[in-house]
């Protein structure tokens, strides 16, 4: 019984961390049809922002939940204004340019922080489930994911900002005709997507540590989650995270973490072949 509870927590954690690392990308992809290959580096920058802030005496919670999203969000807006803006509608070129950005950021952080792993110890200690111990931070990550998803749902569903965002997503020309300024919506969207990535990177930093090339580990996983999820931002991310997270964690339990990852990636390829429009292309079509 204790083992089942532990396994359930681990699966939930895998799902939550997938959803966390993907949601920023999902917003950028869903709203703007921009495939941001520098997404992993946004996560990495979030981790560094949190660690640098903490080592300068900022409270760890503030560093993770406030400083990191702010810093990375600003970087996102700068990136949108200097690179992405010129490439709208040229999907492949955006992919290439953001890949260039990704390499650029890896190089830059390597020069600044060196090619070593830095970490902060996870707060919240650990607790006991029967014969097993597990870290309280795991539960915190799950909670952050749930709160974040609920928050995004509320913003998209109930606020004016969400209405404008959804309108622009469905038909940018129509939204422009009704007085919305799509370039500004896009800049803000990109900033928000980047900020969420920064938050996710910071929240996961105590678990995985941070090093300049950590983005590579994130980017493929978040991509296939977003693509596997399909067009709907929220229901797509959540459903794909549940599917892939469960597969990953169960395969990890049965074999090794490496083959857990491999199982996840392989499952994603099969899914994209079966449902090229993603899960929400077939199911939950009316979701957000």
């Amino acid at each position: 019984m204790d083992f089942v509870v532990l396994l359930a927590i681990q699966v939930l954690y895998a799902v939550a961390s997938l959803a966390l690392i993907s949601v920023g990308l999902a917003i950028i992809f869903g709203m703007m049809r921009v495939i941001n290959l520098a997404h992993g580096e946004f996560l990495m920058l979030g981790g560094y922002a949190a660690i640098v802030a903490t080592s300068n005496g900022v409270n760890i919670w503030i560093a993770m939940l406030v400083v990191a999203p702010l810093v990375v969000g600003l970087i996102g807006i700068v990136v949108e204004m200097t690179i992405i803006r010129f490439l709208y509608g040229r999907m492949v070129d955006t992919m290439l340019a953001t890949w260039g950005l990704s390499l650029f950021l890896v190089g830059l952080t390597t020069a600044i922080f060196g090619n070593t792993t830095v970490g902060i110890s996870a707060p919240l200690g650990s607790f006991q489930i029967g014969a097993y111990r597990t870290s309280g931070y795991t539960l915190f990550v799950i909670a952050v994911a749930v709160v974040l998803m609920a928050g995004i749902f509320a913003v998209l569903r109930f606020t004016r900002l969400g209405l404008i965002a959804r309108g622009t997503m469905q038909n940018a020309n129509m939204a422009a005709a009704l007085g919305v300024n799509p370039p500004r919506v896009y800049a803000v969207t990109f900033g928000i997507g980047a900020a969420l990535s920064g938050l996710a990177g910071a929240v996961l930093a105590p678990v995985s540590g941070v090093f300049p090339t950590i983005g590579v580990a994130y980017v493929a996983k978040s991509f296939i989650t977003v693509i596997g999820g399909g067009a709907a931002i929220l229901s797509g991310t959540v459903s794909a995270s549940v599917l892939f997270g469960t597969i990953n964690q169960i395969a990890t339990f049965l074999t090794t973490p490496v083959f857990g990852e491999v199982a996840l990636l392989a499952a994603a390829i099969v899914l994209i072949r079966l449902l090229p429009q993603g899960i929400t292309g077939r199911f939950f079509r009316r979701g957000l």
């Binding site: 340019a97 260039g100 890896v106 190089g107 991509f223 990636l265 392989a266």
Partner: protein, 358 residues
């Protein structure tokens, strides 16, 4: 001068320069230069593989390094098991080609659009990287070959002349082989692209729906193009495993894939000579920047010796500023000059007439 004569002149020029380079280099260059030029030639073959499938076939493959790595690993593993290099050499081409065919069937017959194709090929590369990387223990072996995980496979036996195990190809022989391979690949691809098949794949790149309505099956043509690309990359991988007598999983890494794409972007999509120039230029640049690395801990030198940083800047700059790549841009410039001259000539011949009428 019309386009046809220009074309033939260009081909002749490439042939003469190539053959002169092939014959003269080992006579005049030091052995270490020859060694370095060899790897440039091998990588140029790799760049041609992507030039074919992306530049002409319109298939953006983020995982060309997967086929390259598979070729290298196949050669290494088969070599330890067989010992005579003819079969490993052929396997190193056949296996990546088969893998490309399998993946291509999966993707093209599933009608997966180009962007998703990029993501899938990227994912496949990561799967290979992760799997091979974790096979460090002695329990992972194929026949007599230990996979070695992140340590790679050292001491791969060199190619030998077909049928004669004792006659291994030496360093100079490797140079001749690689340069000849590049020349043969270049002219072979030119021939392929001038054929009916080549016209059709370019037609599909330009407008897939139109080609389909004209009765061609884009899926089959893309599959064949992709398979040829895979075979070429595997061939380059086999040569690469020979060159360093070593393979490691970084060959599957994202940095490797990024490099191949950068070569093609810099040189120009839709040309063959462009990616070769891009490949050699970028590699030379990387070597030159890497060479002055240890000169102090100065922040700027550290940044400039940092390959990802340089690659990133180059990639962003080219996508934003020179999206066509160097060779087509120079070509456009040349045509513009030519046209400006003919315009001037035409204008000059027009003027006296006007004067007469006036």
């Amino acid at each position: 001068m019309n386009a046809r004569t220009l074309n033939i002149l260009g081909l002749g020029l490439v042939g003469i320069v190539g053959i002169a380079f092939l014959i003269l280099t080992p006579r005049f260059a030091e052995l270490d230069t020859v060694l370095e030029l060899t790897v440039y030639m091998i990588m140029a073959v790799l760049s041609l593989s992507l030039a074919l499938i992306w530049g002409y076939g319109g298939i953006l493959c983020f995982g060309q390094s997967a086929f390259f790595g598979l070729g290298a690993y196949t050669y290494a593993i088969a070599m330890f098991n067989i010992g005579e290099s003819t079969v490993p050499f052929l396997l190193a081409i056949a296996l990546p080609a088969a893998f490309a065919a399998l993946l291509g069937y999966f993707v093209f017959y599933g009608r997966i659009s180009d962007v998703y194709l990029g993501v899938i090929t990227l994912t496949v590369t990561l799967i290979l990287f992760n799997s091979i990387n974790s096979t460090a223990g002695p329990e992972f072996h194929i026949g007599a070959a230990r996979l070695g995980g992140f340590n790679g496979i050292p001491g791969i036996p060199a190619l030998n002349y077909p049928g004669n195990k004792a006659a291994a190809v030496d360093l100079e022989g490797m140079f001749y082989l690689s340069t000849a391979a590049l020349l043969v690949t270049y002219f072979g691809l030119r021939l392929l692209l001038a054929s009916r098949f080549g016209r059709i794949i370019v037609g599909i790149r330009e407008n897939e729906r139109r080609a389909e309505l004209l009765g061609y099956d884009p899926r089959a043509y893309k599959l064949v193009t992709f398979t040829i690309g895979g075979a070429l990359a595997g061939f380059a991988g086999c040569l690469f495993a020979n060159w360093g007598n070593f393979v490691s999983p970084t060959i599957f890494g994202l940095a490797q894939s990024a490099q191949i794409i950068i070569w093609v972007i810099v040189g120009g999509r839709g040309t063959l000579i462009g990616p070769i120039i891009g490949c050699i230029g970028i590699q030379w640049l990387t070597t030159a920047l890497g060479a002055n690395q240890p000169s102090g801990s100065d922040w700027w030198t550290k940044l400039l010796a940092n390959a990802p940083f340089i690659f990133g800047v180059i990639l962003i700059a080219f996508v934003l500023l020179v999206p066509k790549g160097l060779v087509p841009t120079f070509g456009d410039f040349g045509q513009w000059l030519l046209r400006a001259r003919t315009r001037r000539v035409a204008a000059a011949s027009l003027e006296p007439k006007q004067a007469e009428e006036g």
